[in-house]
Structure formats: structure tokens, C-alpha cells
Subunit: 336 residues, 2 copies
């Protein structure tokens, strides 16, 4: 029951040269754990899943595996679901943890409510990626929203989430949701200008199928698809691990988005370095002050079927934009 | 080159019953990684250090080991230093990572400046634990401080830090510092009432030598040692992993400290769940509003020899007190 995939065999581009020699390995060893030199990099604690990637060289987070529930290969990536001993069920794509039942609330609530609570009465929302449905679940908490489109490239992610993560996939059940299976880049190009109040880009890392979602042409399409004063929130990696990627994103967004351009971050224990960032931008038009939400959701959460918010509140919304000095220095410089 | 220590053999009390059967294991397997049933729990990726503990069951963070620089056993704990491939040198006590050169700035700066920037002109400061010297380095940035006492129980930690972490141990070189090797609990009992403006408790986890530092009698001694309106900041675990411990600390502190009682947190990638919390309390007297620092250090940092602050700033000071809803709910309830 051991799986191994070497990045050299995957159709991925490396974000940086120093990672050319890196290998992207995921492995689950239940009864055995190879220890011979040849596969030492993929040897894990027997019965544990270890996350090793050139995106975070020299470190690996491991979760104890109770049972592997699904292992498959879609047209785009390796898909795995396992029952962990202390983080609930875990969704893994290409060897990288996407969500766990225990801490998914932090990522889903923040990537959704940071943008939607920053504009009054969002009506039309587009989600790129987010095939697990968690972001949809959070968008649906906003009673002002009339239309929720989602474009996910990998149908297997949607099907697997509905099968194994009902409390996350519940987002698909909202009648306002329309699911499009396809390439988010192509989908956006076809969107009439100024269609959406908000676009949320819930992508995986920029190696593999999500790579284009971190490049300039994609941000240009997002900008066109937004109405004046519309907002985008995109997954923007870790201030501890990926400042070079974040710098590129900030530079691109500053050139393309003529409104606000801000970086926020939050804690997610099962993501590398324990944090994940978000790039929040607005188009030219009615000004958006992301740091001071004008559309609070705390009190008026009307979707009791989904349970109350576990993580997000207006205080932590504002706090998310306060950066450590080492990150503020770099991001402020690039944002000017 | 494999080291293994089973908590059952250590003179430690477990904080919770469910951990009675847990084992506290640290292991570094350089050339080999055992995989037979008997030691599967301690098997790690060969060449990697893995942090496995009943304090965070079912998960383990691993760092790639370039070279083990020191392994020893003091009167109180196992001490190890290794060169990691991407986090610089790493200090490990009883199998738990205490600091890495790459991210120590976050912990040292926050645990120090959260209390010291919350009161005007701190003059006398006591550090309990903190034998690596990093907190001293940060306290010394405050030009108002005239006396810095530190009581560390384990001389080996001080010696090892001076030998392997000169940029951290530089804190010992400040002429205002007096080092006391001994038991912090006993030291505090002997301190005349109202001696200190601030006490910083830089402890390890509440299993092992630091356990008493999380108990009520210790907090009572701290309260007595502080002047009216004096402040204490103590390491207070993770909101993701240790809410039961945090609840106990909050309840104790609310009973003992008649001024402010607040919980703050920050990101530290190499600590379990990627975050660490701080309990900040003030004694009866001049009121202290921890959330709004009255003694900013950002601009007036006069200790260029130590380099500029890397993490702390006034914005992140205030942000550190904003809690996720799941944590705020529990802590606010106990703080009343």
C-alpha cells in the first residue's frame, strides 16, 4: 500500500530553478516503510502520510493514517482520501494536503469572507477551483448573493468531496450554484466584461494544474470579468516559504488592478509552515477598503444548516492584513 | 545514530489522562530507519528529525538533518542540536523543537514585546526559562530597562546556546543581565513583593521540567513578584491543539491577576500546528490595555548590534489578540 510519484515524471513546471533537482513525493506506508538508499526520500513513518515537496524543501508534515479511503488518478492529478487519527478525513491532491475536516474552516471561511465582507451586497460570485465545495458553502452564507458560478477543472475532486466530505460538499446543494467542469482560464476568457462582484480563486500550488492561475494573463481575465469596484481573492501561498512567489503575484496584481491591492494571511495547521496567504485586489471603481469590512456576516449568518462560523469574525478579518515586519517590508515595496 | 526516549521512562506527569498511554518519542535516523512493528512509532524518514509527542497526537513535523552537532543529557532533559537543511541550526529539548535559526524571531520578539510594549518605561524585568538567551536579546532592545534577571533551571541549555546559537545567546552579553541557574518556582518565592515591572515565562511544554510553570501556585508567585500594574507574559500553547490547557491557564490567571487577562497568539512554523499562544496578565494597579501598546519599539530600536526587528511591529501586536471564533468563544467564557 505504498504510492510514490516523482515530480520528474509529472507534467509540472518548477516555480524556481533551485527546485529543478527537487522531487515531489508523497507516500503512505501502512505495514512497511522502505529504507534503502534509493527510496529514502519517500520513506515515511509506517502508518503515517508524509507531505514532501520541492515547494517546501527540507520539511515534511505527517499525519497518522487510520485508513486509506480512496486512491485514484484523474486526468489532472493523483487524488487520495484517508481517515487520519486526529484530523478527521483528509483530501490529498498530487501528494499535497488540500483539506482536513479538523481545520478546513480556517481556509474556507477566510478566503470567502475576506472578499465578500469587504463589499456591500455581493450578488454575482465566481469560484475558480474549489471543487471540494467548501468555498461554495461559505459564499452561500451571504443572503445578498443571487448567483454562484464555480469552474473546477477536475470532476473527480467534486465527486470525491461529495462522497467523503458531505459537510464540505454541502456547498453544491445551494440552488444558486452552477457547476462548470472545465479550465478556469478558458472559462474566464469567455465571461462578459464586468459580470461578477467577486471572484474567488481557490487553487492548489503553482506546480501542476493550477500553475496558470498564478500568471499575469489569468489576473487580466479576472480583472475584466469583475465589475468596477469588484474584488478578487486568490490563494497566495506562505509568507514563511514563498516570498518570491508572493512578490511576483503582488507585482502582477499592482499592474493589473487599479483599486486596492492587499495581502492577508491566516493559520491552517495542516498547510506547510502552518499559514496560508490571500491576495485581495479590487478593480477601478467604488473604492474598497479590505481592512475594514463593510458587510459583516458574524451576526446575520442565516445558513444554520451549515452550522455557525467556526473561525471567521470581523476582528480576525482586519487582523489578517497585519503582516510580520519581514513580509511587510517586501510586500509594501512591491505594492508601491 | 538513533535516539529514542519513551515518556514512560521520564520523570514527567501527563497533563491529561488520554495521554497516559502516549509515548513521547524523538528520533533521528541517519543511515537507517527501523520499520519493524516494535519500533514503528519511532521510525522516521531516514536523515530527518521527526517530532512525535502525546502533546500533539497523530501528527509530526519533520526537518531534514544535515548534521547532528550535539546530543547530550542534562540533569533535566535530553538536549540536541542539529544543522537542518532549510531552517538553519535547531535546538531540541526532550525531542521537542525549541527554536530554529529561521523562525525564532517570531516567538522571541512576540513573547517579549507584547508585554514590554504594553507598559510605559519598564525598568526591572525577570525572565523564567529562556536559557537560549533569545528573550534577553529582545528585552535588551528596550532602553528604559535597567535590570534583567533570568532564572534558567538547565545550565546545559545556556552553554549549548552560547556554543551553537551566538545570534540568540547574544542576549547574555548585555551588561544589565544577571543569570541565575536554578528552579524558577523557588527563585520567584524568594523575590521581594512588587520587585518587577514585567515577568516573561519562556517555558517548554507542561510535561517535563516546565510543568510547575503552568500551575496556580506559580502564577501566585509571579503576581506577588510584580509591582502594581506589572505584567506577565507566559508561553500558552496552541489554540488548535491545547484548548483544555489554555482553559485551565485562563481560569487560574483570572482568579489571580486582578488587572487585565488576555490571550494572544502568533505564527511559528516549526511549532506544532504552526502557532503558539501567550497569556498576558497585569496585576491590580495602573490599568494595562494589552491590545493597544503604549510603548512602541518599532522606531526607537537602539540595539543595531542585534539587527533590526524581523517580526514584531505595533500592528501585529494588536492583531495578535484577535482570536478565531472557536477560540474566542472558549477563552471569553473562561475569562469572565
Amino acid at each position: 500500500m505504498a504510492e510514490e510519484s516523482v515530480a520528474g515524471d509529472l507534467p509540472v513546471k518548477r516555480p524556481r530553478e533551485e527546485e529543478e533537482n527537487g522531487v515531489c513525493v508523497s507516500a503512505v506506508a501502512m505495514e512497511t516503510g522502505g529504507t534503502k538508499e534509493s527510496d529514502s526520500i519517500s520513506t515515511v513513518i509506517p502508518g503515517w502520510f508524509s507531505e514532501i515537496s520541492p515547494m517546501w524543501p527540507g520539511e515534511a508534515h505527517s499525519l497518522k493514517v487510520e485508513k486509506i479511503l480512496f486512491q485514484g488518478k484523474s486526468d489532472y492529478q493523483d487524488v487520495m482520501v484517508f481517515q487520519s487519527s486526529t484530523y478527521g478525513k483528509v483530501l490529498v491532491l498530487d501528494g499535497v494536503i488540500q483539506l482536513t475536516e479538523r481545520d478546513e474552516c480556517a481556509y474556507q471561511e477566510m478566503i470567502t469572507h475576506l472578499p465578500l465582507c469587504s463589499i456591500p451586497n455581493p450578488k454575482k460570485v465566481l469560484v475558480i477551483g474549489g471543487g471540494d465545495g467548501g468555498v461554495l458553502r461559505e459564499v452561500a452564507r451571504h443572503s445578498s448573493v443571487e448567483q454562484i458560478d464555480i469552474c473546477e477543472i477536475d470532476k473527480m475532486v467534486v465527486d470525491i468531496s461529495k462522497q467523503f466530505f458531505p459537510e464540505v460538499a454541502i456547498g453544491f446543494e445551494d440552488p444558486r450554484v452552477t457547476l462548470h467542469i472545465g479550465d478556469g482560464v478558458a472559462f474566464l476568457k469567455a465571461v462578459p466584461e464586468g459580470t461578477y462582484d467577486a471572484v474567488i480563486v481557490d487553487s492548489s500550488d503553482p506546480i501542476g494544474p493550477a500553475q496558470e492561475l498564478f500568471e499575469k494573463p489569468f489576473f487580466e481575465s479576472v480583472s475584466k470579468a469583475l465589475r468596477p469596484g469588484g474584488v478578487v481573492c486568490t490563494q497566495a501561498e506562505s509568507i514563511w516559504l514563498h516570498m518570491h512567489i508572493i512578490e511576483d503575484i503582488v507585482v502582477n496584481c499592482r499592474q493589473i488592478f487599479k483599486g486596492s491591492v492587499n495581502y492577508a494571511w491566516t493559520t491552517v495547521p495542516t498547510y506547510p509552515s502552518g499559514v496560508i496567504g490571500f491576495m485581495l485586489c479590487s478593480t477601478e471603481g467604488p473604492p474598497v477598503d479590505f481592512k475594514h469590512p463593510v458587510n459583516p456576516i458574524d451576526a446575520k449568518d442565516s445558513n444554520k444548516s451549515k452550522g455557525p462560523l467556526k473561525f471567521y469574525n470581523s476582528e480576525i478579518h482586519t487582523a489578517a492584513f497585519c503582516l510580520p515586519s519581514f513580509a511587510r517590508k517586501v510586500i509594501d515595496a512591491k505594492a508601491k
